[in-house]
Every structure is written in C-alpha cells, then in structure tokens.
Symmetry: C2
Subunit: 338 residues, 2 copies
C-alpha cells in the first residue's frame, strides 16, 4: 500500500495525494474529501523512509546513554526524566530511536549514527564526564539537549537541577536540625554531577560556618546502591564517623544505610542521611529516605521543548536549571510529613 495505489484508487495523481497529506491549499475540497476517505479505509500510512529521504526530516529523536553501558534503562532517575521526555516529544510529533552501542566496534560514533538515521535531534543522557564522541556530536550542526550534561555547541542546550542549591538546601536542613559534623558520599571522580554537588556542599558548609572534614568525604564507583554500601564500609572502617551524611544519589544513600545497619548503627539516631533525586524506592525503605527531589517530569518536558525549538526555530540553545525541593521523610530525624 503506497501513495501510487491511493492515487489510482482515487483517480488522481500522486502529487495530489501528497499535497492532501501535507495540507497544501491548491486542491479542491471535493477531491480532498474523496482521497481522505480512501486513505481512511485502506489505513494507508506513508513510508517514513521515503518521506525522510525527500524532506530530510525524519521526526526521529536519537536517544543516547553516554558513559558506561549499564546505565541505560536501569537508572531510576534518568528513566523518569526520559519517560516524561518521551511523552512530551510524542505530542510534538516525534518518535524516539535508541542507539545501540554494541553494533559498532568504535562503540558509538554518535555523530555518524545520527546522520545515518537522519535524526532531527538528539538527547544525551549522562552524569558522567564528556566523551570525545559526544563532544563531536555536540559541536555538529545537529540539535542536541543534554540531561545533566553541560553541552556547549551552537545548536545545543541542556537541562539540569541547580546542584549548588541542592547542596545548600541539604546543609541548611542539617544545620537547622543541629547537625554539625557533615559527611558526603559521592560517585566516581569523573562524574560532573557528583563533583558539582560536592563542590556546592563544601561551599555551603563553609558559608554556614561549619567545620569541613575531608575524611568524611568518600566516593563510590558510580551512582548505584552497591557503591554506596562500599563507600560507607570504607567510612566505618576509617574509625571516624560524621553525624550526618549527604549522598549524591538516593541509591548511594540506600547502600550506605544498608552498611550502617549491618554494623548496628541506626538511622537517623546514630547518623542522619539525606539522599538526592527522590526516586520511587525511597518511599518504601525503612527509614523512608529524606531526599532532595529533582523535578524529573519538568526536566523531561523542558528538554523536549528546548529540543523542539532548536530543531524548528533557529533559536540558539541555552540552558534551563530547575529548582530542587527538599523532601523530608524519616532518615534525618525530623518528623514532618512526606
């Protein structure tokens, strides 16, 4: 079922059918109605490949998970912003294509693959350091939006939470509850996000006039639970513990809590914990995790709109920072509502 068959059935030319499907004005209401009926009956849908070939627009957005392969769909935070992004992009008329990293030995020349699929734009999801192949894509003429990734290209933009504010809200909360000895669990050294949060954290500690003790700052290999567990083990074995800890992700916090439990240390009585992201599982744990909520839905929507603008207007990127909000639950000794 292609456009030619529709044209024959309707007794018109191929061009006329095409015009009808693309809302050209130079076709009479009568023939338009007749053709549309036939399209309706046959369930005809034009080939995206042919359309892309002719128009050089694919209505496809490339989704790239940068960094280590295993982040992908399993990271609760990114998955939620991706979900929101997909929905919003859907109403704007775009579908999503996910690049597999496995096919190519070079494990992802993202620019080549973007032109290969003729994507109209890309969203790059990552909390890791910039890879050179991402940089190439960023610097190309293909519109790109980074999620938690600071893109700098002329046709690029990015969205992220205000990481400095995240940290200062954490310190403020600790401070108001009387905690003075503050620790930190971060991700690997090449994680921009983790570094930003750590930098903001130390700055906030100083501006509140609290003592800064680097021995209470530890790091895991990534943002996942087991890293938090190991980091906490390390801290416990060091012999000196802070009274409160900010973990750069909720999973790190949960891992830390698991380690504490194993050593019969109670949260928040012995040590208070605040996580970051507000992913679903926080609500189911004991104690329920106090955390900083990133507005994931809004991040996704913003990313979608920015990308849409980059594609369709000649607008020049920029960035959006969304405001974090403190979610008080139980892991921090305060007893407010969830």
């Amino acid at each position: 079922m292609n456009i030619k068959m529709i044209a024959e059935m309707a007794g018109v030319s191929v061009s006329t059918v095409s015009k009808i499907m693309n809302n050209y004005s130079d076709v009479s209401e009568k023939t338009k109605k007749r053709v549309l009926e036939i399209i309706e009956q046959t369930g005809y849908s034009p080939s995206n490949s042919a359309k892309t070939l002719a128009t050089k627009k694919s209505n496809l957005i490339g989704v790239i998970f940068a960094g280590e392969l295993n982040v992908e769909f399993t990271h609760p935070f990114f998955v939620e912003v991706l979900n929101s992004f997909k929905k919003q992009m859907g109403v704007l008329g775009y579908d999503l294509i996910f690049f597999s990293n496995e096919k190519f030995i070079s494990s992802g020349d993202y620019f080549a693959r973007s032109v290969h699929f003729n994507v109209d734009g890309c969203v790059i999801i990552s909390g890791q350091k910039m890879e050179p192949t991402i940089r190439d894509l960023d610097m190309s003429s293909i519109p790109c939006i980074g999620v938690d990734l600071e893109l700098k290209g002329k046709k690029s933009g990015f969205v992220m939470s205000d990481n400095f504010q995240i940290s200062s809200k954490v310190v403020e909360h600790f401070y108001l509850l009387g905690y003075r000895e503050l620790g930190f669990i971060g991700s690997a050294a090449d994680s921009e996000i983790s570094n930003l949060r750590e930098a903001g954290y130390t700055k906030a500690i100083e501006s509140f006039g609290l003592p800064l003790n680097r021995r209470w700052f530890v790091h895991g290999d990534d943002f996942f639970e087991s890293s938090g567990y190991e980091a906490m083990q390390q801290l416990i074995q060091s012999g000196s513990l802070p009274k409160a800890i900010f973990a750069a992700s909720d999973l790190l916090a949960l891992g830390a809590i698991r380690a504490l439990k194993e050593h019969d240390l109670r949260v928040p009585e012995d040590i208070a914990i605040i996580g970051c992201d507000d992913i679903e599982p926080c609500k189911y744990t004991t104690p329920r995790l106090t955390t900083i909520r990133q507005n994931k839905e809004r991040l996704g929507i913003l990313a979608a709109h920015m990308l849409y603008d980059l594609i369709n207007n000649q607008s020049g990127g920029g960035s959006f920072v969304v405001e974090p909000v403190l979610i008080v639950r139980e892991s921090c000794g305060s007893q407010l509502k969830s």
Copy 2:
C-alpha cells in the same frame, strides 16, 4: 556526504561503492581498498532511509508498551528485560524505535505505525489484556514477540515466566514454613499475568490440601505500590487476615507492607509476604522482600533471539517459558541467605 560524493572522490561509480559496502564479490581488491580508505577518512555512513527504501529492511525494531500509558519506562520489571533485549538486539545489528502513543488520536494503530517506520519486527511489552490494535499487529505478517503477552500470530512468539510454577513455589515455601492460611494480592481483573498467577496459586493451594479462602484474595488496579497499599487496607478492614500473602508483583507486596506497618502489624511475625519479580528495591526494604525471581536478563535475550529468527529465517514463532526461582530474604520468616 552521500554515496555519490564518495564515488566521485574515488573515481568510481555509485554502484561500485554500494557493492563494496555490501560485500559484493565483483569488485577488485585494489579499488575496494581505495574506496574503503576514503570512506574511513570521511566517516561516511549511508542513509538509513535510502537504504530502507531500496531494500525494504530497516534494521529497526519497534518497541510497544501496550496497556495504560504510564507503564512505559517506569515499571522496574519490564525495564530490566527491555534493557537486556536492547543489548542483545544491538549485537544482532538492530536498533530500537519507540512508538509514541500521544501523536495519534487513535492512540496507536500499531500496525500502521509499524509499516510507517518499516520496522523489521516488534516487541510488545505488557501484562495487560490484549487490545484489538495489538491483535491486528499480531495477526499481520510483521514478526512480533510478546513479553508477558501471549501472541498467537503466524509470525509471532512470546516469552514469559512459568506463572504456574511461580505460584506453586510460593505455596510450597509457605507450606514448608508452616503457613496454612494463605491470601493473595493481585492486579486488575483484565491482567492476564495476574490472573495466571492467581489461577496457579489456587490450584497449588488445593494440591497441597490447604483451605482456600476467597475472602483473602484482593485486587488492586495495577501492579504498582499504591495498589498494594490499598488492597491491603481493604483486607485489613475486612476484619479477617491470612497468615501469609502472595503478591503478584514486588511493588504490590511493598505497598501491602506499608499498609501493615501503619496498622502496627509486623512482617513477617504477624503476616508473611512473598512478592514476585525480584526488582532492585526489594533488597533495600525492611524487611528485605522474599520473592520469586524472574530471570529478566534471560527473558530479554530469548526475546531478541526469537525475534531475530522470525525476521531472518522463515521459522514459525513459538514460545519460551523461563523457570522462576525463589529468593528467600526476610519477609517470610525464614532466615536463609539472600
């Protein structure tokens, strides 16, 4: 950068370049080498649209989340099998395209969209009842694989866990630990998976000679945590409680536990709980959740290989059932290792 430019640079015809890229034999080693060098230098990658148009193969797999929209990426179980599926499909040379449901008023004539994008096959993810539009796709000539969804088409297949075995392992475990009064928390009535598990559960209860009390069988609206919470509330208010409950998903189980906690009922002392799926958060909760593990990675790999076979051989579908395994943690009163 297209094939014509490569041809000009190499001083050969377009056809020759195409032949080189597709491993035809009628081209000399010398020119092949020369052309490949140019391709390497320029980073040329052929247009997928043009290629698809000419060959009618897109190397694209359509991913469909059937059922309510909000399942999408947020469901931990499906996300993990999808992750494994994506990886495996990647090494087989395919990329994934996600259909947005939002663009079309009909909210998804999946068959039309599959031909629109010229996908080579589809994977359909769902635990819900079959929708008519899915049925159309299933019955079409497009290869399809269902995940937790029983497809019947000539070019279709499906993968799922052995739901009867899941239930009987649960009952056996309860039985061996001395529980005799067994309850069940399921999803909505139109969920095939939930119904299968419930059917297997009642059958297992009977075959163990245990009493069957339908008052202890309750249902939520979906597989998520809040549904488990509400279902449990309902059960508690009914006045009569079983000694052990099997929940058709881990999130249902976690919701149930939350409700129990609010009524100062202890798990597993007052009531034992077993979940299903073995999603990540099970490990972080208190008590850690005893559950039935579905081998999500294997489900994804199987789905990928079956789909590949359906696409490339004329093989005729079929189904694969993977064996579930009981993961004993803390929510059931037994104290084995995790």
